[in-house]
Amino acid sequence: MIKEALNTVSDLWSLMVGLRVTKKYFLDPQVTVRYPWKAVSNIASYKGHLELVSAKAPGKPKCISCGMCALACPSNCLTVVKRKVPKPTPEQAQAEAEAKAKGEKPKDKTPKDPEQFLYDYTLCSLCGTCMENCPVGALAFTGSTYLAGYSREDFHFDLVQVLKNQAGLEGVDASVAPETAESEA
């Protein structure tokens, strides 16, 4: 009987303890970051959408258009469009033929960087398989968390163009206004 009464008292006391906890946190400072005015501090390590790593010359990608990334991608969101071999002028063709006749190996003059590097962000699952399989390390994640768009097409990027824009607008966050693949075509 007494034990039961004591139990009841301790049960009721547990309600008081709960109120004490909420009172404590009521008076404690808030932990919310008021977003549009203050950014959260933990996005540095976030890995957002892909970008091409530029070679020494700004705006020129390191990429050699080998297509390993597109092959490795689990969701087929990458398309690498290689540069077309420019049609040799008659002189060049002649020179080439002469060189061949001499037994020299013809020099590959076509630049290796891709014409277009189409990236469909709507399909990407940010797994990083493409980066790991790039033989030259030409791909990287951006830290961009704030990417937003009005339509599906806003997330179809041509990464070559994005890189060029980035080089042109030094110091401006390129992810803010990436060119869409559609506007290219």
């Binding site: 309600l15 709960g18 109120l19 906890v21 909420t22 009172k23 946190y25 009521f26 404690d28 400072p29 808030q30 932990v31 919310t32 008021r34």
Partner: protein, 326 residues
């Protein structure tokens, strides 16, 4: 001018003041609730619209007013729309006999307490109608719970109030307040602590506030009896809930906490302060505890509150009689 009796004028002015203040209280309470809840949960709560989000409830109210009044197929149109009105209107009447200050009372009747208890009984009807008429299974379950709960919790509420009015020998709220003094030890809570506790618990049950928010238990019945209500239909239920909170807290203040009595500050200020403190307690309780189960709710009532209230009442009656002889 003589054609209008002074009493009628007073009631009309009072009713207008009540209607305005209920709306205002609703808005302020929504803000306070969200702000307090936010701070408890270490969030800022609303802070975007107006200073510290003070205009936010007004915007929400406007949004509610602007929404389409939607009625589900198969619902009873008359009863469906009657329910929110029925939830809200009696609440206005509940404010009539509340003594905010000395003489500051809309309707000075000697049965004020009875009036409040009688009108608050109407709230059950609106819950029942809302749940029944909306032709929704969740609504029906919510309504069934609401009725059982309200019927059960009215009894200890009544008994605890009666104990106080025994001591005062009156059902007039103003009279009960007048008998109390300035300082806390002159208040009825010192002589009737148990009645106060019972009152507060049953008031939580009566107003369907967490942890006794069974009729609208969100995780079980989605929104219970008001599942199908949108726009102002929901808005009225919402407003009625907060207005009901104010009423039960006001009655508690008048009966147990000395009403308008208090040092230094004028009477109405003290009254408002005490009511706010009680409301804050109710808000804190809501954001701290889990919800009780339905059968537990009834067990608390029938096995604990009711016997305690009856015992308290008998003891009080005994001592009152003893005091009369002495």
């Amino acid at each position: 001018m003589n054609a209008i009796p002074a009493e009628l004028l007073r009631i009309i002015i009072g009713l207008v003041a009540i209607a305005v203040s209920v709306g205002l209280i609703g808005l302020v309470m929504v803000w306070v609730e969200r702000k307090v809840a936010g701070h408890i949960q270490r969030r800022p709560g609303p802070y975007e619209v107006g200073p510290n989000g003070l205009i936010q409830p007004l915007c929400d109210a406007l949004k509610l007013v602007g929404k389409q009044l939607f009625m589900p197929k198969g619902a009873d149109p008359i009863l469906f729309w009657l329910a929110p009105v029925l939830a809200f209107l009696p609440v206005l009447l509940l404010f009539l006999p509340l003594p905010v200050g000395d003489g500051l009372q809309t309707l000075d009747v000697n049965l004020g307490l009875l009036l409040i208890l009688a009108f608050s009984g109407l709230a059950v009807l609106s819950v029942l109608l809302a749940g029944w008429a909306s032709n929704n299974k969740y609504g029906l379950l919510g309504a069934a719970r609401g009725v059982a709960q309200a019927v059960a919790y009215e009894i200890p509420l009544l008994l605890s109030v009666l104990a106080v009015s025994f001591v005062a020998g009156s059902l007039d709220l103003a009279h009960v307040v007048k008998l109390q003094g300035t300082w806390p030890w002159n208040w009825n809570i010192m002589t009737q602590p148990l009645a106060f506790l019972i009152y507060i618990v049953s008031a939580l049950g009566e107003t369907n506030r967490a942890p006794f928010d069974l009729p609208e238990a969100e995780s079980e019945l989605t929104a219970g009896f008001h599942t199908e209500y949108s726009g102002m239909g929901f808005g009225l239920f919402f407003l009625a809930e907060y207005a009901n909170m104010v009423v039960v807290c006001s009655v508690a203040t008048a009966l147990f906490l000395g009403g308008w009595h208090g040092p230094v500050l004028p009477g109405p200020v003290w009254f408002v302060l005490k009511v706010s403190a009680l409301m804050l307690l109710m808000v804190f309780v809501r954001w701290t505890y889990p919800r009780v189960r339905f059968d537990q709710l009834l067990v608390i009532n029938w096995k604990w509150l009711l016997p305690l209230a009856v015992a308290n009442l008998l003891l009080t009656a005994f001592f009152v009689k003893l005091a009369q002889f002495a």
